[in-house]
Homo-oligomer: 274 residues x 3
């Protein structure tokens, strides 16, 4: 169902400007290339406006934020808004420190986001300005499951209406919603939580997909979530087959993203809409 | 002999806060996950105390230190001391510049370390405030071998008494010692020195093991050293079998860490105590 | 033809000081080790002079430049000039922002470079202080091909005379030239542009090769360009054989660099001189 979205990415080679953390930045650059985009990382306040202007999307990830880069995030975000580029927020570890939580609030005040993607704990922090976060992973008691899924969808849609952004809550089950429509996505594999950067990489793929499909932010986000999850499943199969481990899994995950097309995605997506 | 230590890591999923270099940070995060912990990298002075408070161990690595992060290291270290979290020091390149040597001295004055891990040149710099260091690798003339091993053990134990830290000196032969007891470990493979980050990764694994075993710092450190060395041996075997090279070696090293358990470790450790 | 150059690298284990970006820094460190050198990354202004003094070459890469590291680049570059170490410039994204372009001009004024390596758009920016750059990739209309190759060689040689540096322009076809001689190199594979860091890694290999061969900067640069291209070809063959993707390609690329010797290189180079 997302063939056109993927085809646009391959055709347009969207440039994605990322202001991101130094932990997973290499994986993010590589997966942007793998999915058909082109990455640029630039965080000096003197160049972020210019760089974002020559790109098609901006990704802001607060994974290893500091005062210098926070100011660059705000400046780049405002510029991207001005020229109507999609801006994607990954509120890594929101709730784990006042600096992270406050930065998310500052960013939400100053920048209009097209998509916000996080685990349930992070997104709850985005919503409430409070909430328990176990470091950069989701708190277990927040986990999305069959019993609370309607509640989580309602929450996501409320936040979507409040912020104007598509909300992507990822975990064992993924929710992607705007104010009107919601997708439930069941692609993915638990081994994705055994490598660093699954979330960050997904956020940058969302950036690439949205950068090539400005008018279909909800579907582009859902397509990226499905794509990442499916690549995780395929990568796990290869790990099992080769008796590998988590680092091989990371390699295969990006490998599959580089080989994914609309047909392969179509054959493997597990999605329903509400 | 270290089954209980590994079991505690798997059970407790220790959160490890690292203030580290941007060269090997991704490998460090991935190997923390692979060994059963959960990584958080955060270096802004406004958040390091909060972040370290929600974690179980703090790793300080001076590989790409700068004035901003040095202050964060000290602040985080003091906080971790206050709440009795283990703090691990990796004095990367100590002796290679006055900044590195002076920073190690400042850190030793202000922070009490549970473990200090480095190559022999780095640890000699920690001890003496002098010494020749060939960049970030050990100087050849400092190499630990059968002829000087007793001398190195004495040196390690003296430094352990002086600092109150477990001292881990790693190289072709590894020494792990506190003031009373010393381990000689002969796991490992020379290819570990042909990738970047073998040392940094080991230090973070020590962080995870100590974070889940507060009361057994010496044995946790020795277990991590054995585990890393054994994974290096297994990784080399796989490189030889697949006719691979150093980058595949890195992948397999982390893969084996993700598959390691007490039984596998027990079958492969090469350790003696003095 | 480059056996002696490679042999010197293996024999001397040149230490390469890099002030570089945080996107590809890990790959750069690993490929320096793979090709026979030893990497040190250090960017604090208080230590860059000392660090560069204990090394054999300095690589300056502006991929994620900021005001703090720009000053360190200049200071390190001046010191390296003073002690006659080769200094290699990778002007990543020059032309994409005023900050990048201006920094390249500042660097060229203050530091004498031994080698400048970039894609054609970046090198044109170095030359002209203007030019269109599509982010960090070369602009398509600048592409080097059979029709404009003489023109590009002339341009490279003019820039070589102007700067005193060997100029390496890399793309589908690579040009390496000083004021007197030029090499045309046709090693390489298009998949090299589907991973991040192919260019950055090549620049650091040039650093290692020049660090072990001070008196043969042109040939060392050409050897590194051939070596990287050939490893790219071999890596692609392995990707095709294993039905892998771009992340496996990155692994194999570094693997082959770790296995490359003069004989293997000799058997695969595609080079002509003018």
């Amino acid at each position: 169902m997302f063939e056109k979205i993927l085809a646009n990415v391959k055709e347009k080679t969207p440039l994605v400007h990322s202001i991101t953390n130094y932990v997973t930045v290499n994986d993010c650059a590589n997966i942007i290339l793998a999915c058909g985009g082109s990455p640029i990382m630039a965080d000096d306040i003197k160049e972020v406006e210019e760089i974002t202007s020559i790109c098609h999307a901006l990704v802001i990830n607060i994974g290893t934020l500091n005062e210098r880069t926070i100011n660059s995030m705000i400046k780049a975000g405002k510029k991207a808004n001005e020229i109507n580029h999609p801006v994607i927020l990954d509120p890594v570890g929101a709730g784990a420190s006042a600096l992270r939580t406050d930065t998310v609030f500052r960013l939400l005040q100053k920048v209009k986001f097209s998509v916000i993607r996080g685990n349930i704990s992070e997104v709850k922090t985005v919503y409430a300005g409070s909430g328990s976060t176990k470091g950069v992973d989701a708190d277990e008691k927040d986990e999305v499951n069959e019993n609370n899924i309607d509640e989580v969808i309602n929450f996501a849609q409320e936040l979507a209406l409040k912020t104007g952004a598509v909300i992507a809550i990822t975990g064992a089950v993924d929710i992607v919603a705007d104010g009107e429509k919601a997708y439930i996505i069941k692609n993915g594999h638990p081994m994705m939580s055994k490598i660093t950067g699954s979330g960050c990489m997904l956020t940058t793929v969302i950036g690439a997909y949205c950068g090539a499909n400005y008018d279909h932010i909800l579907d582009s986000t859902a397509a990226a979530v499905c794509a990442m999850g499916l690549c995780g499943e395929l990568a796990f199969n290869k790990v099992a087959e080769t008796k590998g481990g988590t680092s091989g899994f990371r390699t295969y995950l990006i490998d599959y993203m580089s080989k994914l097309d609309g047909e392969l995605l179509n054959g493997g997506i597990k999605i329903e809409s509400r």
